[in-house]
Symmetry: C2
Subunit: 317 residues, 2 copies
Amino acid sequence: MATRITVYEVGPRDGLQNEARVVPIDGKLALVAALVEAGISRIEATSFVSPRWIPALADSADLVARLPPRAGVQYVALVPNGKGLERLLEARGRATPPAAVDAAVFLSASETHNRKNVNKTIDETFHAFDEVIGPALLAGLRVRGYVSTAWGCPYEGRVDPRRVAEIAERLLALGCWQVSLGDTIGVGTPNQTREIVGLLTRRSRPGSIALHMHDTRGTALANVLAGLDAGITTFDASVGGLGGCPYAPGASGNLATEDLVYMLHGMGHETGIDLARLVAAAELAQRLVGRPLPGKTLQAELATRARAAGRVAEEQT
Amino acid sequence: MATRITVYEVGPRDGLQNEARVVPIDGKLALVAALVEAGISRIEATSFVSPRWIPALADSADLVARLPPRAGVQYVALVPNGKGLERLLEARGRATPPAAVDAAVFLSASETHNRKNVNKTIDETFHAFDEVIGPALLAGLRVRGYVSTAWGCPYEGRVDPRRVAEIAERLLALGCWQVSLGDTIGVGTPNQTREIVGLLTRRSRPGSIALHMHDTRGTALANVLAGLDAGITTFDASVGGLGGCPYAPGASGNLATEDLVYMLHGMGHETGIDLARLVAAAELAQRLVGRPLPGKTLQAELATRARAAGRVAEEQT
């Protein structure tokens, strides 16, 4: 029953990219270090999209050059095109010793979202991947693929699971070692997850599919459970739930890494992660962005401590 | 695959009892009416514990006398002892026509929590139920049983599933028509849920066990999914997640009814509930308690509306 599960931390990129406050590079590196300290071994660190589009990640080259190399720790950086890959390789070349960094390509499962996001059709996007995937593999990097809006699109509604499976398989065929399916707007429910995963696990290599669930409607861990039952062993999550406050317009609702790890450990799965240290990393993330993060295990822990402190104060008076 | 699922709304009692602001009786009745309007057919309305202990529910007799009777709608009131039952029966007798009201008895699965909550051992508590269950049944009321801390106790930690099953079966044997198992502090994870439910569904009548999950660590709907897979067809939840803010000490973390219904409908289950109207009831609850409620589907809906309103405002300028 108990399995080794890989937790893919996306907070430093997917999380911070969507926060109102821009965190300085030293803060980002402190967060990465805290995550590594907690036993996280897969970290989505940054993105080489144009700084004009995402000013929060304008420091991507310097960040990659300063990522702490650690045995067993693998970083990933998003790369939208050949120019982005060049910048990633240049930054990696500057580091001595260099950390292990994968490249990642991304697209949406729905045409409208893909066009709004990268201004290309899905076919044009796949064509553009030729500039990235082959050269990255030749340069010694693995490539991860991201499929957004795999459960539903804000413009088109529900996405056909067969379409999602088709796109994921095309990414695998192009050379991605793993494809992460994202429920970008957090609309997924478990039967749908079973359907999507069922189509893929039947014919793909074990470990080639990861799930990236959002908790926008509270269903993230139910979908994770459906994925676990179907044999998925890699899940993406964001420390503290970084990347969109559920009480603010524009909420992204990333699943909090601590909530994921809490449930996995409670089910007897192994992750290699120390939950107390992970909560400490989430507290750091909260300080860096300057707002309470939505992660529930984090807030439960902080509330428990506040109550305990109150009891102590009471006993002292 | 699709099943008829009963959603047991606990907001007016379990929710409001744990809110800082005391809601006036007219506000409570407006909330009950909004829930009934949304298609909720089971509502935990109030409690006949001493008003000295729970001032927020001091209006229980008047509330019961004014509950709107509606075909198919069943209310429940908590009754700690013979005196409480007398008060419930008297209040019900005042109503013309009377609404359908069940009685409910409650205890904890862990000795320490039970003692702190009702100042009795578990055996003494069962003994005290003699004043309630028999007389309630004779008076024509069904009796629901509640088992708190069934997944874990804040004082004793994890609770043995066999102990939980034993207590639930004792309640059924005493005449409770249904027993609701509560994860009072929100520590439950799915394998534990499977174990607890597995022990009970093997030998009890279908429909006799309900689950009352808390979302304190984000695992509520994953536990609901585990329950659904094991044949559970009744789930308790609180409108808007009423009953404890996750960002405040004393957080209870009730699962929000809208989040539960969102997932159930997404899985093709029938509940008889209109989700849009349920969200409207949650908005009313939010106004009544004067703070943002933690329900995620509620907040996602409010954020979507705020974005749409912003777009409209932008287009108009």
